[in-house]
Subunit: 417 residues, 2 copies
């Protein structure tokens, strides 16, 4: 370098860290490693034939529109189709309440840009989505973590956190929640917890950011309403995406909020990239118009249900006593807890190099740096055989490192939590 | 609203302004208005048949890759093809020196995020690209404007500006330049000015951001080397895009810089949107591999040359004495100067409502708020007939408002500058 790069970096850039997941993905793309680390959908779920048909038709019928610049808000037809799509979940929104983004991640960055100043407080779950924590961190905020149990965020603890901030004269900008099949834990919030969250958000006059990319991938049980549906969007901002249902390679996400908030988001997105690709938006609109996603969803959920079941069976069979895990009713991930005192981060190099199996360490998902004995396991991308073999490898590694007090390898019924 | 939105906005968001151009575009999409305001390419230049073929092949041959998440850096094949593509311009870069972005605009935002803190100084041309000024402004920087003549930025004035900042103990983060067929002025920097810029950037140890979306659309004359080629990328960051050549609806832009700088940009983009769409990247890579763009460029330039000629002829025929304009050798825009004292902004409502013709006011492109008597005219989108009629309308309006001293409507040879 002829320049001293550090001298040119912004304060934010000096604090930026590469995503642990993304860096790991590079490692684990080497042959022979079974990776539970990513969050990729199974490519066999991609609607390839339908996309061929729709791409051809879009270029035949609307090329001069689909290849031109679009408005920042996003393709009008896509927004209208999304309004129709979300109605099935009780979300009522007109096109002016919807902004198309490059995946949900851009939505999170827009939220950071529009709402966050250095020193602001926000509230997140413990654990919470790693890439959201990462982007909020670039805005220099303080993240207050509230623990989760198997019903969602512990709203009693949320009340304490809000009261504590209020006593300091602080007003958190928003509460960030992933209520359905949470990344990373797989937990789904009960309707009671959702209502309690809204009641507290109203009492303390803060916003709710509901990040909901997995909702449509439900295997069983009944779906509580989206938080957005429960408050009619009065103080909730809703994010979703087609990355887990249609295909991530289209990079279509969207945000829903009151018109006045969306107008602010639009202004922010103008500066960020003017508009999302018209071509992929036109394709997504046509996929919805033809009800292709609607017809495919049951099959997609069936694929991931089989994989979750394979992982649950393998865990039950292989894991020693003292290890517990969640039993998600949908989504792409489950959450594993080692006995207290074990360190998932310290084990990772051996996992990758000796056992050739990868996971994401739980501490990355903890705004407070906790969760050292936890890890996230993805079941959507590996095959059922790989899940079987990968869990065997992981269990072998864990057994080798069990603290003496819990090193019984006798079979027992593992309690999921 | 049940919430007081202003209380939640970040400092940056409170200062964000919607793009004048984008807002105007909404107005001028009404029927009957001839718009010289946009910057859209002519949809007849879109390679529709080739895109149909390539989309079909990409989905047939590489669907599981083209529909999946990609790495943040961008599609490897596309980056390799871009390295090959840019070699014709003397730009030497390997794939690790290239980052794929959602159009050049995302590149500008990444530059802001990685380099700019509130209060930093940067240097821009007078006039300069409006959407760049807009995004840099959201980072709270001071923009120091340096005037332009028909050879590019006046580098003597740049030396003064740099010396002035140095005397205040200030170190500008970068100099932002659009050296080829500049948006808005249509001016191309001479090679001498490019070299003088680099010499000053080295002397004062600052970076150069070279935004070069129009370079490939050259009608005549010979092309000076890109600034990046002149310093081998030692302190230059190069931005380009396929929005003006292949199609804006693919939203493919890219950045070129030293590997260490690109690594910082990648980290920033991870938080912004994880990755650009794999599908459109795979399509663009294949368009390059098949030399489709290379074969089409002469025809694209021919289309815009005819339109520029139509606009120059109409201006020559219609405009009164005292009005001058640039004669760009390429690109999409020319720049019109009214007699001093006239105000393009004050005229705009009458232009749109009475004469039904639109342009962008020049002051929007001036970091110092100057340029009130100037306007940007786009010739790429309207048809030749619309150009003819639109310039007639614009001239009629200008003649009605000429100051008395210059209100001669007698024909004269207009000096272009």
């Amino acid at each position: 370098m002829t320049i001293d790069l550090d001298a040119f970096l912004s304060t934010g850039a000096r604090g930026m860290r590469r995503s642990l997941i993304r860096e790991l993905l590079k490692l684990t793309s080497r042959g022979g490693i079974i990776s539970f680390a990513g969050g990729f959908p199974d490519p066999t779920t991609f609607p390839v034939e339908e996309l061929q048909e729709v791409s051809r038709d879009v270029l035949a019928d609307q090329a001069s529109r689909a290849l031109q610049y679009g408005i920042t808000e996003g393709d009008v037809r896509l927004r209208d189709e999304l309004a129709r799509w979300m109605a099935k979940d009780g979300i009522t929104a007109n096109r002016d309440q919807i902004l198309i983004t490059n995946g949900s991640q851009q939505g999170l960055d827009i939220i950071g840009k529009v709402f966050l100043d250095p020193g602001d407080a926000i509230i997140v779950e413990l654990p919470s989505y790693l890439a959201a924590l990462q982007v909020f961190r670039t805005y220099g905020v303080e993240m207050v973590g509230v623990p989760q149990d198997d019903e969602g965020m512990e709203t009693d603890r949320l009340a304490d956190a809000l009261a504590g901030l209020a006593r300091q004269g602080r007003h958190p900008k928003f509460i960030y929640a992933v209520p359905d099949f949470q990344n990373p834990s797989g937990i789904t919030w009960t309707e009671e917890r959702r209502r309690a969250l809204l009641q507290l958000a109203t009492q303390y006059d803060t916003l709710v950011v509901e990040d909901n990319p997995y909702r449509e991938i439900r295997f069983e049980g009944s779906a509580p309403p989206p938080i957005y549906a429960l408050d009619g969007g009065a103080r909730t901002i809703y994010l979703s995406t087609f990355s887990k249902t249609l295909a991530p390679g289209l990079r279509i996400g969207w945000m829903v909020a009151q018109e006045e908030i969306i107008a602010q988001f639009v202004t922010a997105k103008q500066g960020m990239d003017l508009c999302s690709p018209s071509f992929t938006q036109a394709i997504a609109a046509e996929m919805l118009r033809r009800d292709i996603l609607y017809r495919r969803l049951p099959n997609i959920a069936a694929v991931y249900r089989r994989k979750r079941d394979a992982m649950l069976r393998a865990l039950q069979r292989e894991m020693p006593s003292g290890v517990t895990w969640t039993r998600p009713e949908g989504g792409l991930f489950l959450w594993l807890r080692l006995p207290e005192g074990m360190d998932a981060e310290a084990l990772l190099p051996q996992a990758v190099e000796q056992e050739r199996v990868a996971y994401v360490i739980g501490s990355g998902f903890h705004a407070d740096g906790g969760g050292k004995h936890t890890m996230r396991l993805n079941f959507s991308y590996p095959s059922e055989d790989e899940i079987d073999e990968g869990i065997r490898r992981l269990a072998r590694l864990i057994k080798r490192h069990l603290p003496l007090s819990t090193s019984s390898t006798a079979p027992r019924t593992t309690v999921s939590d």
